[in-house]
Point group: C2
Chain length 338, copies 2
């Protein structure tokens, strides 16, 4: 079809906190799909904390982005040309393999059709997508939350946290939010969070968490690591489960060893469990979870808040907002008018 | 019955590594049992790493020993007077509530009869007692070891480790020992350990563990915390389980925060689980486990090695040997000839 495809490539691996100079926007020809592929035009692109690990030269659970390669990321868009069975022009599809670019050629197995009648299509990148699935499986499978339990959630207004708080409440738990502003905490309360801690304002974070969780923390959905982790680990209830989901607070020192207090004494005396979590382990069960999340959304039980920036030229900016916690809701970039 | 009872009381809480001055040997009259109580004369007394926590003024899972109180500990001995139904003079009993003393008056519910035909009576303080039960439930319940898995065990020649290695081998795993001398490692190999690491001699402990566990560590029975923990955490296999059983390597800085590298990155990327373990949580299942342990012992599948010091005057010395890893096998004190 010709035309220009703008895409962000990694210019350099960051040292500490990334900045915009770590990426470069380039123009290439829009590619042609081959057999079993579709060409998709982006409508929304996603930025997510896991991308900090992908641009690190350190080994991680997934292959990183090499310098000169298109930056990895999920997106939702419209099929503009299909050579894959089951996909037609005009279909809306979501893919974790989209990349930070206006157009992507995707093999059919990495593209998933999105039903626009279920929810705004960008929900496929948030509450009805990877972050929502993370909240769902982290709480319901990894932590196995039980009614009456106190569930502490960091980055509580973020893409994962907002869904997690609502699920915890629906399941009869007492969700407690940790977030970076009073405005975010106020919104969290409208979602069903029973209490909140402003980690930027609390003079003593450990004490603030202890006061917000007077019976201790039964489940801690740890989306940040860092100081919030350190404070929360001192309020674990007996048989607490700590689900290690993300480490966004370490974005500025990702390649350095994380030195600080260890909590083997608490883990031992509380018979607690600290457990790593990756949503991709649950791929086989995505359909059941998405069905339930979509039903909750339809029934008004699941609210989703987005923080949308316009223009592909703002991808690095949007990502950096996320790393510093300046976003309020699921951070998205709207790439073109639909 | 009159006579003198020698007993060790706590003289002071230690600061850092305890020394003998933290206890005081005193003489009191041998007490008389009341209704539902038995008077027991010690034959073997036990020293165990958990006692380091009991003499700390810090909060822990169990009530600590106050200055002036008899030091807590398990013992096995002979009933010399019974006012409790089911107990007769001459019965051998074991109790976790014995204390560091020659004679103890015990309520019947904290005394357990020992069958001297099963094994030497002191096994009730080791492989057929609390340490054996710890190994049993830590591996079979908390870690759920599976055939073919690599099971790394620290303090491998100690009271818990020696039993753990043999259970892991019986279950088709590949047990790997961490111990403090070549002599201990050689003995561990006779028990069924497939490989060993001498933590005192290895120039690079992380590398030594990695070489001994080329497919990674599936289960880590962590009896020590400290440098062995730090090295082992860097070799976790996918879905590794770390069972936090003890922290004897921190005996010299028990009251200080434990500062060092944290491993949330490894826990996340390996989807590992770090879990606190206390054997007392399994009280209801002791009988089944003891039956199986005793059968293994009878059939020659479970070997038990003891390190016996004679004389109640040596209780603190025996305990300190344990904290520095100078014992070789289950550390016991033989209090009087039987």
């Amino acid at each position: 079809m010709g035309g220009v495809n703008r895409q962000w490539v990694l210019a350099s691996h960051p040292k500490g906190m990334p900045d915009e100079s770590n990426w470069r926007l380039r123009e290439v020809p829009i590619p042609e799909p081959r057999s079993d592929e579709v060409l998709v035009r982006a409508i929304y692109l996603s930025v997510d904390p896991y991308m900090r690990a992908r641009i690190s030269p350190s080994k991680n659970y997934a292959k990183g982005v090499a310098v000169g390669e298109v930056m990895q990321g999920g997106g939702v868009g419209e099929v503009v040309r299909s050579r894959a069975p089951g996909f037609s022009e005009g279909d809306i599809v979501e893919s974790m393999s989209f990349g930070w670019q206006e157009h992507a050629v995707l093999r059919h197995e990495v593209a998933t059709k999105v039903d626009p009648s279920l929810a705004p299509i960008q929900a496929a990148l948030g509450g009805l997508g990877m972050p929502g699935l993370t909240a769902y499986f982290a709480l319901l499978d990894a932590a196995r939350i039980q009614p009456g339990e106190t569930v502490l959630i960091s980055a509580a207004a973020g893409a994962v946290g907002q869904v997690a708080g609502q699920i915890a409440k629906m399941k009869g738990c007492r969700p407690v939010a940790v977030a970076g502003s009073e405005e975010k905490l106020a919104w969290c309360r409208t979602l069903g969070y029973d209490a909140g801690v402003n980690y930027r304002a609390a003079p003593d974070l450990m004490k603030a968490i202890r006061e917000a969780c007077p019976n201790g923390v039964d489940v801690f959905l740890d989306n940040t690591a860092g100081p919030i982790h350190d404070a929360a680990m001192q309020s674990l209830a007996m048989r607490a489960r700590v689900i290690v989901c993300g480490r966004v607070a370490l974005a500025g020192r990702f390649e350095e060893p994380d030195i600080g207090p260890r909590f083997l004494d608490r883990i031992l005396t509380q018979r607690a469990r600290v457990q790593g979590f990756l949503v991709f382990d649950y791929k086989d069960r995505y359909p059941e979870a998405l069905k339930e999340l979509a039903a909750w959304y339809r029934d008004g039980k699941l609210q989703l808040r987005e923080d949308v920036i316009k223009g592909i030229e703002n991808m690095p900016k949007a990502f950096l907002r996320l790393l510093t916690g300046d976003n309020f809701g699921k951070q998205l970039v709207k790439v073109m008018a639909k």
